[in-house]
Amino acid sequence: MKFPTLIFSLACIAAGLSGCGRPSEPTIRLGLNVELSGEMPSVGASSKNGAQLYVDKINEAGGLEVGGVKYKIELASRDNGAKADQAAAIAQRLISQENVLMMIGPNSSACAIPAAEIAESLQCVMIAPWSTNPKTTQNVTTGKPKEYVFRGCFTDVFQAEALAKFARNDLKISRAAILYDVASEAPNGQANLFKTTFERFGGKVTALETYTTGDRDFSAQLTKIRASEPEVLFLPAYYNDVPLVAQQARRQGITIPFLGSDAWSSPEIIKLGGQDLAGSYFCNHYSTEIGLPEAKAFVEAYTAKFGQAPNDLAALAYDSLGLACESIRSARKLDRKAVRDALSKIPKYEGVTGLFHFDEGNPDPVKSACILQIKDGKFSWVANVNP
C-alpha cells in the first residue's frame, strides 16, 4: 500500500505546484473565449486583435491601477472552435481552473448563450462583445435579466427595428423575403424579429425560407423566393454563408439588393462574395468612418499594428476590455461581485464604437447602430440609427 500512496502524494504536489508559477509582479487575468478555428475564424481573430490592443495599451502605460496598486493585465485567449459545447467547456475552464477575474466573449450567439449560462451559475462576470441574441443576457427560466452577464453591443430587437425602419423609410420597400439558418441562434432570432418588425411598420414578408448550418445548396429556396417577387432579400447569416447565397441568387436571375445583419461585418465577406454582393446593405455596430477622436486613434493604432483596418469585432472587443478595466478600477478590489456591481453602475463610457451606458438592472447597453453598404469592394457608411 505504500507505492500507490507515494504516487498519490507526488500527484498532489505536482497539482499544487502547477497552480504556482505566478509572475512576480501583480497581475490580473482576464479570459477571452473566442472563435479562432471552425466555421468563422475571422471573427475570433479580429476580436482577439482588438482585445490585445487594449491590453497592450494599458500594460505599456504601466498597468491598471486598482485601489492604489498597479496591476499588469494578462489576457488568456482560448479557442472555442465556434461550437456551443466547446464554448461552454472553455468558459468552465477559464472561470474555474484559470481563475480569471472576468471573461470576455464568446462572440457568436450560438456560443455566447451556453457560455453565459456557465458564467452566471459560477458567478463570474462575462461581457459578450458581439452577441445580439436577447437570450444571452436573459435568465431562461425566470425571463429576468441575468446578474453576471453583460453585453457590449445592441440586441437583435434593436437591430431588427433599425433594419426594418431603414428598409421602409430609406429604401421605400414594402415587400421583403427572408432566408436564414434555422439551426443557428442569431440568424434565427434576427429573421423572426425582422419579420414581426417589418410587418409592424406596414411591410409584407413574401417568403420565409430556411436552411441548416452546413448547407451549401440554396437553389430550391431561392427559386421559391424568386417566385414570390420580393423587393429585397434579408440574409441574416454569417460571412461564410452569405457569398454562396448571393452567388446562387444572382445565377437564378434574382437582381434585388440584399439586406444583412451585423454578422456580415468580416471583410472576408467581400473577398468571398465579390461582385454578387455589390450594393447590399447591412446593419453594423461600427464604422471606421465614425469621427470621434478616440475612434480615429484606435483605427490608426490598429491599422499600424495589424496591417488592416479594424472591423466591428475588433472595436467591440476593444470596448469590452475597456469596460472591464473601468469596472475593475472603480470597484477598487479584485472581487468578482464587486466588479459586477461596478460595471452595472458605470454612468457613461466613451468607447470607440460610441457612447455606452447601462440602465439600472439592464445588462444590455443603450447605444446606436449604423447602416453600411458594400460598394466598390469595401464597406461604406450610409446612415446612423439611434435608439
Partner: protein
Amino acid sequence: MEYFAQQFINAVQLGSIYALIALGYAMVYGVLSMINFAHGDVFMLGAFACLLLTRWVTPPFPVVLVAAMGATAIVGILIERLAYRPLRGAPKASAIITALSCGLVIQNTTLSLSPYPQPMPAILANTTHQVAGVSISSIQIEIIVISIGLMVGLDLLIRRTFFGISMRAISFDHTSVPLMGVPVNRIISLTFAIGAALGGAAGLLYGLAYPVVGATMGMLVGWKAFVAAVVGGIGNIRGAVLGGFILGLVEIMSVAVLPSTYRDLIAYSLLLVILIFKPYGLLGSAPNQKV
C-alpha cells in the same frame, strides 16, 4: 410550370454530385464489405487540390480535373495501405472506427493548415442561360455532363474489363479468388484509387458550383451521399447513382412544395420508408449476390 422545371434542374445538379460521391462508398463496400467513412474528407481534398494547383498558375480545366483526381487517388491508396489493410481481418467495428478516424485526421490537418474558408478560383467560366424561363448556369450543365460521363465510364470498367471482373469476384468470395491468380491486394488498392478519384472529382465540381471551400465541407455532404448509397443499395454501383439522384430530387422537391424547414425531416423520413420496404436498398439484394 417553369417553377417546377427550374426546381427539377436544381435537383438534377444536386443529385449528380451526391451520385458521384455515393459511387465511392459503393465501390469500396462492394469489394471489402467496409464503409469508407473517410470518403467525405477525400472529397474535400479534391477541392483543396484544385486550390493548390491554381495557386501560382492557371492550367486549363481538364488538366486540373485529372490532376485533382490523381492526387486524391494517391490519398485513397495511402489510406488503404496504412489504415485499412492492417485491419483486414479485424472485427467490423474496428475497421469503421479506423475509417472515421482517418477522415477526422484529414479534416483536422487541413483545418490547421487552412482555418479560413477560401474562395475557389473560377477556372470554368460561369454563364447563365435562360431557356424557356428557366435559369441554368453553364457550370450546372458541365457538372451534370461530367458526372454522368464518369458514372458511365465506371460502369463500363466494371462490366467490360479484367479489373472489373476481378473486383466483382473479390466481393463474391475473397478467399478463393487469390487461388485463381487474381492479385487481390493490387485490385483492392486500385478500387480505392478509383473510388477516391471519383470523390476528388466530385469535390472539385462541388467547389466550382459552391465556390467557398472549407475543411469541413466534406462532412455533411459525405454523410448524405452515404445515405444515398445505402438507399440505392450499398455495394451496388448503379444503386448508388440512383440513390444519389433520388436524394437530390427529394431534398429539392420537398422545399419546392412545403415550407423549407421541413426539408430534412421529409427527405430522411422518405428514405427511412424506402429502407423499411427494401432493407437492402432499391437495387441491392441479399448478401450472397453483390454488384
